[in-house]
């Protein structure tokens, strides 16, 4: 690895992490003004945050919405991947294009169209609508993750299991599932993460539900506040923890699979 390559990577990482580092630094800065020079270290903003009931409610709401999104993205991604890799599936090309639709249509257009159709048929906007719409947006990502692993899977293993008397369901549970479990947990995390990160869909479909992102957005239009900084850092840390845990889990599974092989 040359010196030029290394400096390119360092500059790129600096660019990608600069805003996040600045955000973190100011969440510990002992001043209500978001300005340099720094004034000293404080945990005051985190204390204020912990006492703010609204934010805590928003946290819980976002978390409760993100869980079903992760599960739905994983289940539908699994079904889509199984279909995509099924032998003799004539509509594979068309189905693959269909799967790209939620990814290629801008989220804003999609959510506004969904909001319109829902108000016409009398489907109330709120948590359910939000969960369904976010799952749909997460579906292409989940499918890509799962099918990337599944195309490398040797179908003959399934056939062998079937020949030895396993039902299709048993073959799936005992042969395929252990192999794709890391990908499934990845798909679940992507659903959760995309849901936590989303603001656009929530703006149109949340109704009276108030996830954290929506709350921050309305505060943010008015002013910058240090306790908002602290909250963003907490959200960031939680997301990073989620990424870290699922990555560790994935690696452990892979090691275990390698050891078994």
């Amino acid at each position: 690895m040359g010196r030029i390559g290394l400096s390119v990577l360092i500059v790129a990482a600096g660019f990608l992490y600069l805003p996040l580092v600045v955000l973190t630094v100011f969440s510990f800065n002992d001043s209500a003004l978001m300005a340099f020079p720094l004034s000293g270290f404080t945990l005051e903003w985190y204390r204020e945050l912990a006492q703010n009931d609204n934010f805590l409610k928003g946290f819980v709401t976002s978390f409760l919405i993100a869980q079903p999104v992760g599960i739905l993205a994983m289940l539908f991604g699994l079904m889509a991947s199984l279909a995509l890799t099924a032998p003799g599936f004539r509509w594979r090309g068309l189905f693959a294009i269909l799967l790209l639709v939620p990814f290629l249509v801008p989220k804003s257009v999609l959510s506004i169209a969904q909001a319109m159709i829902m108000s016409r048929v009398g489907f109330e906007r709120g948590a359910t609508a939000l969960i369904l719409a976010q799952s749909l947006v997460a579906l292409p990502f989940a499918t890509a993750l799962i099918s990337a692993v599944m195309v490398r899977f040797d179908r003959r293993l399934i056939e062998a299991a079937r020949d030895l008397g396993a039902s299709p369901w048993q073959a799936f549970l005992r042969v395929l599932l252990p192999q794709i479990r890391p990908a499934l947990s990845g798909a679940y995390s992507v659903g959760v993460i995309l849901s936590l990160a989303d603001l656009t869909i929530a703006m149109f479909l949340a109704g009276r539900t108030q996830p954290l992102s929506l709350m921050v957005a309305s505060e943010f239009r008015r002013e910058l506040r240090p306790d908002l900084n602290a909250m963003q850092v907490v959200v960031l840390a939680l997301t990073a923890a989620l990424v870290g845990i699922s990555e560790l889990y994935r690696r452990r599974r892979l090691r275990k699979l390698a050891a078994e092989a």
Partner: protein, 286 residues
């Protein structure tokens, strides 16, 4: 008929048709409806489309969305190539870590990123303070925040990881020996890039461009929260027509016109990139 694995496509297809295609189809229907006393009345009226066709503002905003998507694509590609090529040189063990480093910023919420940039670029933000500290400027640079510059910068930031990832995957598949052969035969690094690496990575560039364009052209939050007076977007106007003005036919027509324009530009862009010699060599000599 017994159950087959491929039948699992059905529930997924139904979900996408009901959740994506049906709403878009309804948008088409609504664009021909009429509005009376804040009520949407089924009709076959060209009022909305006529209004859209003659509105200079609407077409200006649609053009702006295309421009914003194309600019973001170009910037991410220019920045993405050196990063992606540097990544291919990493040791295999470091690559797993590099993926996490690259993707983690994507996991932060849209609002977190927007918020963080406000602190970096503001009048008393990081950039201005450092530049003033170095004595390079006397007054804070005003154009950093709430300007077209801000929108371009943040959209590039938001989408760079997607572009890097797409080019990187493509570049990993280039046979290193081809580059060495070119160098041995006397090609300078620049020539080796333009005559060997670039042509062979155009499929990745095309995939990255499509992704970045789709994600950035329809974006309305970054412009509206960081663009200041230049932050008007077609989607914000659609939102306004939908929510405040209750002109659903016009909102539908505008959203559809935007979608169709973006689709045309994206197909043209992907088609152009894939027609290059290298892409044909990679994808298959049919």
């Amino acid at each position: 008929m017994t159950f087959r694995q491929r039948h699992l496509a059905l529930p997924v297809a139904v979900a996408i048709v009901a959740g994506c295609l049906a709403p878009l189809a309804v948008l088409v229907a609504f664009s021909f409806y009429e509005v009376e006393d804040f009520d949407l009345i089924p009709a076959f009226s060209f009022r909305a489309w006529g209004e859209l066709a003659t509105s200079a503002t609407d077409w200006f905003l649609i053009g702006k969305a295309v421009l914003s998507g194309v600019t973001t694509t170009v910037f991410t590609a220019l920045l993405g190539y050196p990063v992606a090529l540097a990544l291919t040189r990493l040791a295999t063990s470091a690559k797993g870590l590099a993926i996490i480093v690259l993707l983690t910023p994507l996991y932060t919420g849209e609002i977190v990123r927007i918020y963080a940039w406000r602190i970096v670029l503001g009048g008393e933000g990081l950039v201005n303070t450092v530049l003033q500290g170095l004595g390079l400027i006397d007054e804070p640079l005003k154009f950093l925040l709430f300007s077209p510059f801000t929108i371009g910068l943040v959209l590039t930031y938001n989408n760079l990881p997607f572009m890097v990832l797409a080019i990187w995957v493509s570049a990993e598949m280039v046979d290193r020996r081809l580059i060495e052969a070119a160098r041995d035969l006397g090609a300078r690094p620049v020539d080796a890039f333009f005559r060997v690496i670039f042509p062979l990575t155009t499929p990745g560039l095309a995939a990255g461009s499509l992704t970045v364009f789709a994600l950035s052209a329809g974006e309305m939050l970054t412009p509206s929260l960081l663009g200041g007076t230049s932050g008007a977007t077609a989607m914000a106007l659609v939102d306004n027509l939908f929510g405040t003005a209750f002109d659903w036919p016009l909102a539908s027509a505008l959203a559809l016109a935007l979608l169709a324009t973006l689709f045309l530009v994206a197909s043209a862009m992907a088609g152009l990139l894939l027609r290059l010699k290298g892409a044909r060599a990679v994808i298959g000599r049919t």
